[in-house]
């Protein structure tokens, strides 16, 4: 295992990836981290350039930025690099990237940590492709990354605790947030059995912020249609039952809708390598990992949302556990090769090198994350919000009627619906519509197959086998 430029390649520069990379780097491993963004942070710690240049803001972000700086001194950071494919190669892993100037670059390492996060899940509804309708995460990214408010009169809707910080952020930055419409049942924030656990403080903080800005938080409500001529002008808000069936509706005028119905973990790199998957509590396919965050494929670890959505704190703990485990295996294999013993690569068994306290924290946070997923399910009633002409696939502009037609013709699963009607064939490769198409097909979402995970020019692809090297470290 000594022939590789890096002992560990990490894909993803959010809380999990940075924690894993830094833990391994501090243990003396040669680490490279690849991320498509210009700055570390992922979704949660997305920050403006000003925040990076002048820390002193939120303590959590400051802590992350500090770890990011520590990592930059000890590892190769390949920012602005998009990973289009990963493959096994000569006993290690090859991470195929496109550089910011569209050049191919392959980063090779003995081990891989997949920390690719998640993106918003949004179920379709009439008008959801009108400008002014953003994902909840999109509205937040605009604010965190660029300091831009998504709109003046905003509605926040969907399901899950993530709606709270999005609404609080928008209100705090000066938007008139008309309401948060939460589809789940109304227990009241403070009395929510899950939120009453460890995270209550954070939720209460957001609730307080919403109260301060007089933003109503209404449960068993959903935005079931968006209206406007060329841009969002109003939404239809419905009272819904437990199955998300519409009870009654009214129209609310607004210029912005931030909407999210949970998250989709980004697992395609693991799927491409053959990593085992399982259905998470919310039905999302996620990567199977053991106590050391190892996937079912030797040499490949995963941490954070790709192993199950659980928020940044859990992601960071998982990243640290993975970093410890990678370091432990690296030491074991180095010892083995020094002894020049049997020649078989040493794989550590139960010992994963992570502190016991860390493992205990992870256990508690995972249970909490699962409870959250169960408390904010997506119920099938949203399919009743659809009209024949509602787009399911935004890229290929496939309406509900064409999906139904494909089913009538004998498309009995999501894949054959895609083959016959083209949802998921376009630019986003089904990232946005995949969940909805699976639901319409009556099946759980299957692990996504995206051998080309990010667009790559044919010119760069043609040269992607030419270049054998990874870049030099800055200190070389």
């Amino acid at each position: 295992m000594s022939g590789f430029r890096h002992d560990l390649v990490v894909v993803g520069g959010g809380p999990a990836g940075v924690a894993g990379a830094l833990t391994a780097a501090l243990a003396g491993l040669r680490v490279a981290l690849v991320d498509s963004s210009a700055r570390l942070g992922g979704q949660y710690f997305r920050h403006s350039r000003a925040a990076q240049d002048a820390p002193g803001g939120a303590p959590e972000l400051d802590g992350f930025l500090r770890r990011g700086r520590a990592l930059a001194e000890r590892a190769d950071l390949l920012l602005g690099h998009r990973v289009w494919h990963v493959s096994r190669e000569d006993g290690g892993l090859a991470v195929h990237c496109v550089t910011p100037d569209e050049q191919p670059l392959t980063v090779r390492g003995a081990r891989l940590l997949i920390a690719t996060g998640a993106h918003d899940r949004v179920v379709p509804f009439p008008g959801w492709d009108l400008p002014g309708v953003l994902t909840a995460g999109g509205a937040q990214a605009l604010l965190k990354g660029s300091g831009v408010l998504a709109g003046r009169r905003a509605v926040v809707a969907g399901t899950g605790p993530f709606l709270l910080p999005v609404a609080a952020g928008l209100a705090g930055a000066g938007a008139d947030v008309l309401a948060v419409y939460e589809a789940a049942r109304g227990l009241g924030l403070a009395r929510h059995p899950v939120l009453a656990l460890g995270k209550a403080g954070e939720a209460a903080g957001y609730a307080l912020a919403l109260a301060r800005h007089r933003v109503p938080y209404l449960t068993r409500r959903a935005v079931v249609a968006a209206h406007g001529d060329g841009a969002l002008e109003a939404v239809t808000v419905a009272r819904i039952d437990a199955g998300w069936n519409v009870v009654d509706t009214r129209v609310v005028e607004c210029d912005t809708l931030a909407v999210g119905h949970g998250f989709v973990p980004q697992i395609e790199l693991g799927v491409e390598l053959g990593c085992g998957t399982r259905a998470d509590a919310d039905g999302s396919p996620v990567l199977v990992v053991d106590a050391a965050q190892r996937t079912t494929v030797p040499g490949v670890w995963a941490a954070g949302e790709p192993t199950g959505v659980g928020g940044w704190r859990l992601a960071e703990v998982e990243g640290r556990v993975a970093g410890h485990a990678v370091a432990a295996e690296h030491r074991a294999s180095t010892r083995a090769s020094t002894r020049a013993s049997t020649g078989a690569p040493a794989v550590s068994g139960g010992g994963h090198g992570a502190p016991r306290a860390l493992l205990a924290r992870r256990r508690g946070m995972r249970a909490f994350a699962e409870a959250l997923q169960r408390a904010y399910p997506v119920a099938p009633g949203w399919q009743g919000w659809l009209r024949d002409d509602t787009l399911v696939c935004r890229c290929e502009e496939v309406p509900v009627s064409r999906v139904r037609e494909a089913q009538r013709l004998g498309a009995t699963d999501a894949r054959s619906i895609k083959l016959l009607a083209r949802p998921g064939m376009g630019w986003c490769q089904g990232r946005i519509c995949g969940y909805a198409v699976s639901c319409l097909a009556g099946e759980e979402p299957r692990p996504p197959k995206r051998p080309i995970a990010q667009p790559i020019t044919l010119g760069a692809l043609a040269r992607s086998t030419d270049e054998p090297t990874t870049p030099n470290t800055p200190d070389e």
Binding site: S36, S37, A38, Q43, S48, R49, A50, D53, E102, H119, D120, D129, L130, P131, G132, V133, L134, T135, G137, G138, A139, Q140, A141, L142, G145, S146, G147, V148, L149, A150, G230, A231, R394, C395, E396, E397, G426, W427, C428, R431, I432, P455
Partner: protein
Amino acid sequence: MTEPFTITVDGRQVAVTPGQTIGAALHAAGIRSWRSTRFCGRPRGLFCGIGVCFDCLVSVNGRPAERACLREAAPGDEVTTS
């Protein structure tokens, strides 16, 4: 580079705070859609905001199909929309 600058969007000047994406700069300038879909001509702008949905595609300095939500604006960028 901390001073605000401008980029050109279809010939129009748009102000940018350093570090902003092209999509954010457009949004801040009140431009919320800048692309028409190829079959039905539907207007599109930012949706996912994090490079997943490809709704926000623009041409930057002659290179087509850049995600406006990912690409940080640079002084003098020539952005064209379709």
